[in-house]
Amino acid sequence: MDKHIFSVGDINRYVKLLLEEDDQLQDVWVRGEISNFTHHSRGHMYFTLKDTDGVLRAVMFAGSNRYLKFIPKNGTKVIVRGSLAVYEQGGQYQLIAREMQPDGLGSLYLAYEQLRSKLQEEGLFNPEIKKTLPVYPKVIGVITSPTGAAIRDIVTTIRRRYPVVRIILLPVLVQGEKAPESISQAIETMNQTDFIDVLIVGRGGGSIEELWAFNSEVVARSIFASKIPIISAVGHETDYTIADFVADIRAATPTAAAELAVPHILELRQRVDWLEGKLRNQLVGQVSRVQERWKRAHKSLLARHPRRQMESANQSLDRTVSRLHASIYRLLKDHRLRNQSFKQRLEFQNPRKQLQTLRERLDRDQSQLAKTGKTLTERYRNQWLHMMTKLDGLSPLKIMGRGYSLMYKDDHLVKSTTQLDPGDSVKVELIDGTIDCSVWAIEERKNHGKE
């Protein structure tokens, strides 16, 4: 018996080797219906795929199944992509699933995957050929539907962030049979101009069928051929389209695309302000550095230059002479200064000044005196006038003018009846003349002076 006896492990290992050597089995697409589905607590999914002909065990590890966009369950028809492997301990072979799609979309998904691999192999997605976006675009081209939310979001975002840019919109169909040709044509049209700095190509989110134009080969090739850098902006975060892979940069939403396309005007303002501040500081710094250097040079010049001369023995004579000169000069200067100071002091004592002061005082006193005299005279004159008026009122002539008269007997003023006797001659003086009268009778007023 020279037949070799294998262990179970050997057999399983050998089968494993055979299976895993086969390239075709390492990347297979399998269609089937899920059964015996369990989602293990550690995250792995175990199930079997079955069709009318049989069953195939399958496992989808947590690392892969977390990207699933649907929840698999028993009875779901699916297309699974994965590799075949042997589970040695169980003596079973199984499909290690990496991707899984519900079968309804399966054909689209397959087409997508096939196109993606084809274009990838052709190098359309190569990172090194991606164009960089201009930092400060002047004109933005937008290729999308003129009525959807996408164009509104883009315009709103650009207006808010960077209102100095021009927006050129080429309206296209973004879904339906004619959409791929429409989008592709628009990209080419935009490229016929020479003033568009960046293109945004996209649409709002939708179902995978609605986004399908962006998975078409014609769109992918137009994006690749574009000389203008392209930002793709298709749908929402989770959906990657072929357009996203070919585009120079992929934005998850139209709003995000607009944000990528333009800088924020506030950042620019801040940058300009910051540069201006730096500019000022630089100049101030440079001026003060130059000043500092000048000060140092000046100081060392002062410190060094005369002293070096004087320290030289050959010049000691010169030095002495110059010292002599200097002292004479100083002496002269001192004298001159002293002289000057005497002169100044003398000038202070100049009687002309005092005379002037005295004259001014005299003038002041004189004018004061004249003023006082004038005031006094005025006052006395007024008093005198007043007195005169009063005096005038008291004049007997003035009283007589009102009808009074004076009576004289023998040149004596008659003030009482007792001075007279009937038959006396009297003179009555009126304002304008004298009457000679004689007294006929005397009637004494009885009560006079006795009350």
Binding site: V164, R166, P171, L268, L275, E276, L283
Partner: protein
Amino acid sequence: MEKNELLALTFEEALKRLEDVVDTLESGEVPLEKAIDLFQDGMLLSQVCSQKLDKVEQKIETLLEGSDGLVVKPFELEEDR
């Protein structure tokens, strides 16, 4: 540099030149007279940058096939009408 000459620059060019001026000054190898000239240029450039940012001329246009090729025409979005 003349102000008109500077105003003809694009924002990007003006900003680049402003950055160059600052860099040159920062190198500290410019004589003072030159530095003052540069400073004045820099201040002008900064002004030009600000003015360009102030100039709001947002409008939406589209491309149409004309007799001599493509022409730019204003385009109105529905909500702008």
